[in-house]
């Protein structure tokens, strides 16, 4: 095929014709020269001979002239490429191995790099001068009003209360613009057909501030922010495609959030996500959206409504100067507010890059995972490159006669080096093409596995990924050829190649080094797998308190985020609806029991920081303020929570009876360490009368897996006498459903009941607690799988590499082994000799890899469960055992061959 291409290129360039012309030109010169001499009186024969002699080397002249055509390098390159393809065709297995591993290595790295670059490097697209747009970070002490042990902790967030935000202004030389947005999940429409969208509420200036131009229609204009105006929305191109198809159809369509109808007036360009990397579906004017969701009060209080602020710096302004101005403005606003005492007067504002991940706070765990994954895939790429280099090295050894002949024919050292580099690049190029296919098929899955909560606005195979592939191909191609090419070209070894049997030593140190490097990298991945697996197991076996199998949670009302109380509009009406749902669900087949609580197990939301005073304490003795859960009497039984002391609630704990509470062990241990909790007195809310603790229940992991927050439980039936609790009860409600078998089928039936009785409730609120738990431990399960798959690949490659090196050297030393046998060496001794060689290479890799893994541990440490150490001796030992076992199996076949060496055969072959 290449031959054909080559010929075609030749014919395109009229090469043969040009060659013929050059010959004719030279012939003419010779003839003219001879004629001159004949004219001068020489005999024709002598004249021709002299002309020829004067001309000198015709071949050389022709060669040099051809060089002047400027094609020689191209021709050489084509020749080298042709030779590379012939080499690959002759060694199909070798080629496949290299191309496959390299394709995997590059193909996984390309979408990974694209993802990481979106998260950490590139400013989001379609923003005008993004380096002048800065995210504001507020750092302030929490709760200066002395309400608990959290007092004095400093919080740094990229969110600002409305009071502070309105104090910022662009009326100075430093700041050109101020804008803010608030992003949340909102439901468009009602009931089971409702769709959950990512919605950004934007301030008046926001879209102009970013400088984005719509592809169709218009953006939200200043006049649209007037509450009297028709509410409008602009949508992302992704949502337009998914929901409406053509842009024309989208314009004029309506969306419904919080009972307000918005008309779509524009579509923003593809890939536009605002100042964040996570995609947004809809942008709404803040005035309309906040008023619809919060009523008119959101703006009045100024301290309960938060949004993410941005400023655009004037050219030449420094971040520090602008931050000082913003800090002064915020402090002034706080001092002049209605409640200056409850706000930290020393709050400071800092400017960060537009990307949230580059802000001053440490990365959250779910953002660290992609970084570690990036590290893992990079190691895989390294291993693939080393593997390729190793195989190329073996090729050099196996082809030493061919190379020696080429050298003798005048290819030169550079020529041989060039040939090897070309071969390597051709291989890498082929792998690059395959890598693009790998990237296209795995990129999306990779993204969704690593950051499931992210919506990506663009394809994983973007320009960045393709660019990365190109650079990786070039880099790996050159790097892999480096060792073999330098080795083959940079020394005098080639000249001796075809003469002596000592050639078996060719490249030994380099090849050995490469094998050790491969083994070391494999050990890093293996130990990472083991460390992650240990975290995964520990998390999986964690007792969360609840019996999480066969438990469904149904969230009926929640004030999490900005979600308004869907389906709950007036307590009395709701109570009966909730009771109706509860009864119907209880009657479903396979349902064992149903209980109610204001907090949903492991939801991480819906819990209040209750106002609480404990008898005998001036202030609550807790590091974290306790959460409250109002429950029905059967809650503990249905949830599978064991009473540790005293009793749970019963039907007599109702309004008018003695007020009772149950606390969990975490609460009791912090409040009354080493003593009984039963009989203690709590003052809940503003109540002056005592709520008696009647029982202590096992603690639960509701918010994070690693720590149990203190929780106290109150009977839901005793809540109405306290206005705060009654209000809480009317806003928050969950059902927990204990099922007889796997809750999948029950889930569908529960949804059916909800659709019938509470048609306004979005269906996504029913969840299986086991899958909620699975999601909580996904960092470790994903980490384990990712490390595991990479380590398996790495060990396989290392084993292949080791096998090929050992097998090659055994073949070279066949005679030696034969002679050893003849002199009486036992087969087992030879076997051991070869095995020892293989294992000692792997052992060197273990040592080197362990050192690297000890160092690299710091990067995975924050990701491990419950502060576990990445320098786990057991994990390292397991990794070493796996690697050494792989080394033994890889060296076994060649070792057996050595042990069976037949002296006679070996001598005959000589």
């Amino acid at each position: 095929m290449l031959r054909l291409l080559y010929n075609r290129l030749r014919s395109i360039w009229h090469r043969p014709q040009k060659d013929a012309e050059l010959d004719e030109e030279i012939r003419f010169h010779l003839a003219a020269e001879a004629e001159e001499r004949i004219d001068a009186g020489l005999a024709p024969e002598q004249a021709h001979a002299e002309a020829q002699r004067d001309f000198g080397n015709v071949l050389l002249t022709r060669e040099l002239t051809r060089e002047a055509w400027g094609w020689a390098p191209v021709e050489r390159l084509l020749k080298d490429i042709g030779s590379a393809f012939r080499m690959m065709r002759r060694n199909t297995g070798y080629t496949c191995a290299v191309v496959l591993t390299l394709a995997l290595g590059i193909g996984l790295n390309a979408p990974m790099y694209e993802m990481l670059s979106r998260l950490f490097l590139q400013a989001p697209p379609h923003i005008e001068n993004p380096d002048r747009v800065h995210r504001l970070w507020v750092s302030e002490r929490m709760d200066p009003g002395d309400r608990g042990a959290s007092t004095g902790r400093t919080w740094v967030v990229d969110a600002m209360q409305w009071l502070d935000f309105t104090a910022l202004s662009a009326d100075n030389e430093l700041i050109d613009g101020v804008a803010g947005h608030r992003v949340s999940f909102r439901t468009n429409g009602r009931g089971q057909r409702a769709e959950s969208l990512t919605v950004s509420w934007v301030t008046r200036e926001f879209l102009d501030f970013l400088g984005v131009a719509p592809t169709v229609g218009r953006t939200i204009a200043a006049a649209d922010h007037d509450l009297a105006a028709q509410p409008v929305a602009v949508i992302s191109d992704g949502y337009r495609r998914q929901r409406f198809g053509s842009a024309e159809e989208a314009l004029g369509a309506t969306l419904n959030f919080d009972d307000v109808t918005y008309v779509v007036v524009g579509v923003l360009p593809p890939g536009f996500t605002g100042p964040r990397s996570n995609a947004v579906d809809v942008w709404l004017p803040l005035e309309h959206a906040a008023t619809a969701s919060r009523g008119d009060s959101w703006r009045r209080h100024g301290t309960t409504f938060y949004l993410t602020p941005f400023v655009r710096l004037a050219p030449g302004a420094t971040e520090e100067a602008a931050a000082a101005v913003a800090t002064a403005a915020v402090r002034a606003a706080r001092a002049g507010s209605r409640f200056p005492d409850s706000l930290d007067a020393d709050a400071t504002v800092a400017l960060g890059p537009i990307l949230r991940t580059r802000g001053p706070t440490t990365l959250r765990r779910h953002m660290r995972l992609p970084l570690v994954a990036g590290g893992i895939t990079f190691v895989v790429l390294l291993i693939a490159a080393v593997n390729m280099s190793n195989l190329l090295m073996l090729r050099v050894a196996a082809r030493r006669r061919e190379l020696a002949v080429r050298y003798a024919l005048g290819l030169g050292r550079w020529g041989i080096g060039r040939l090897l580099v070309t071969e390597s690049l051709v291989l890498a190029g082929l792998s690059g093409v395959a890598a693009l296919a790998v990237a296209a098929t795995t990129g999306d899955a990779l993204r969704r596995t690593l950051l499931p909560s992210y919506q990506w606005a663009e394809d994983p195979l973007g320009a960045t990924a393709v660019g990365f592939t190109g650079i990786a191909v070039l880099g790996v191609g050159l790097a892999a050829a480096l060792a073999p090419a330098v080795y083959a070209a940079g020394s005098r070894r080639i000249e001796k190649l075809d003469t002596s049997r000592g050639a078996s030593a060719l490249g030994t140190p380099v090849r050995t080094g490469l094998i050790v490097l491969q083994a070391a990298l494999s050990l890093v991945l293996l130990s990472g797998t083991a460390v992650f697996y240990r975290s995964f197991e520990a998390a999986r076996q964690l007792d969360v308190g609840y019996t999480k199998e066969h438990l469904l949670t149904v969230t009926l009302g929640s004030i999490h985020g900005d979600t308004r109380l869907d389906g709950l509009d007036g307590a009395a009406l709701n109570e009966s609806a909730i009771h109706a749902v509860e009864d119907r669900v209880r009657d479903l087949p396979e349902v064992l029991d149903v209980a109610q609580g204001t907090s949903s197990p492991m939801s991480g939301s819906g819990a209040a920081y209750g106002e609480l005073r404990i008898d005998g304490f001036d202030r609550p003795p807790f590091r974290d303020l306790p959460h409250v859960n109002l429950t029905t009497p059967n809650f503990f039984r249905v949830a599978g929570l064991d009473m540790r002391e005293g009793r749970g609630f019963n039907q007599w704990d109702r309004e008018g009876a003695q007020k009772v509470a149950v606390v969990d062990t975490s609460f009791a241990e912090q409040a009354w360490p080493g003593q009984s909790g039963v009989g203690r007195c709590l003052f809940v809310g503003n109540a002056a009368d005592c709520t008696t603790v009647v029982g202590v229940v096992e603690s639960t992991r509701n918010w994070g897996l690693e720590a149990a927050y203190p929780v106290y439980y109150l009977p839901i039936s005793q809540a109405s006498s306290d206005s705060a609790l009654a209000g809480w009860r009317s806003l928050q409600r969950s059902l927990i459903v204990r099922t007889a078998s796997s809750p999948g089928r029950v889930e569908a039936r529960v949804l059916g009941v909800l659709a019938e009785l509470l048609p306004e409730l979005p269906g996504s609120h029913v969840q299986d607690l086991s899958s909620t738990f699975e999601r909580r431990i996904r960092t470790w399960s994903v980490g384990t799988r990712l490390f595991g798959a990479s380590a398996a690949l790495a060990v396989l490659l290392a084993a292949i590499g080791l096998y090929s090196v050992i097998a090659f050297s055994v073949r070279q030393r066949e005679l030696e082994f034969g002679i050893r046998r003849a002199l009486g060496a036992r087969a087992s001794r030879l076997l051991r000799m070869v095995l020892t060689r293989g294992v000692s290479l792997a052992a060197a890799g273990v040592v080197a890899g362990a050192l690297v893994a000890l160092w690299a541990g710091r990067f995975v440490e924050p990701l491990l469960f419950d502060g576990r150490s990445p320098r786990d001796p057991l994990a390292f030992a397991a990794a070493a055992v796996v690697l050494l076992a792989a080394a033994v199996s890889a060296s076994f076949l060649p070792a057996r061959r050595a042990a069976r060496a037949d002296p006679r055969q070996a001598l005959e072959a000589e």
Binding site: E21, L22, E24, E25, I26, F28, H29, A31, A32, E33, E35, E36, D54, F55, G56, N57, L60, T61, L64, T65, E67, A68, W69, G70, G410, G412
Partner: protein
């Protein structure tokens, strides 16, 4: 592989200048160009064919001279080179460069005062 460079060869780049200058008088083939330079320099400059033809083809590739096949006065087909417009410009450049060089060399060789 590279040819041993003759010691008595022309200063690098000078051959180009000589070829371009020669072609000012009209189109000529390689043999005639070499002969002309040799004659005019009164046999001081001998042009090696190993340098001449590569130089001609290089100049052609750069577009400073163009070639066509014509019948020579002896009735044989020969490859005639002629100066192109950009070749004329290049000649001016090369000539002034040569003059600068020769002035500089002359200065260096001037007897001390």
């Amino acid at each position: 592989m590279s040819p041993a460079s003759p010691r008595n060869q022309l200063l690098y780049g000078t051959l180009d200048l000589l070829i371009l200058r020669t072609l000012v008088y009209g189109p000529a083939h390689g043999h005639a160009i070499a002969g002309h330079i040799q004659r005019v320099s009164e046999n001081a400059l001998r042009i090696e064919t190993g340098s001449l033809y590569p130089a001609l083809h290089r100049l052609e590739a750069r577009g400073w001279i163009a070639a066509e096949w014509k019948t020579s006065d002896k009735g044989k087909r020969a490859r005639y080179y002629r100066l192109t417009r950009s070749g004329r410009r290049q000649l001016v450049v090369e000539q002034s460069r040569w003059q600068q060089l020769s002035v500089a060399v002359t200065r260096v060789l001037r007897p001390a005062e």
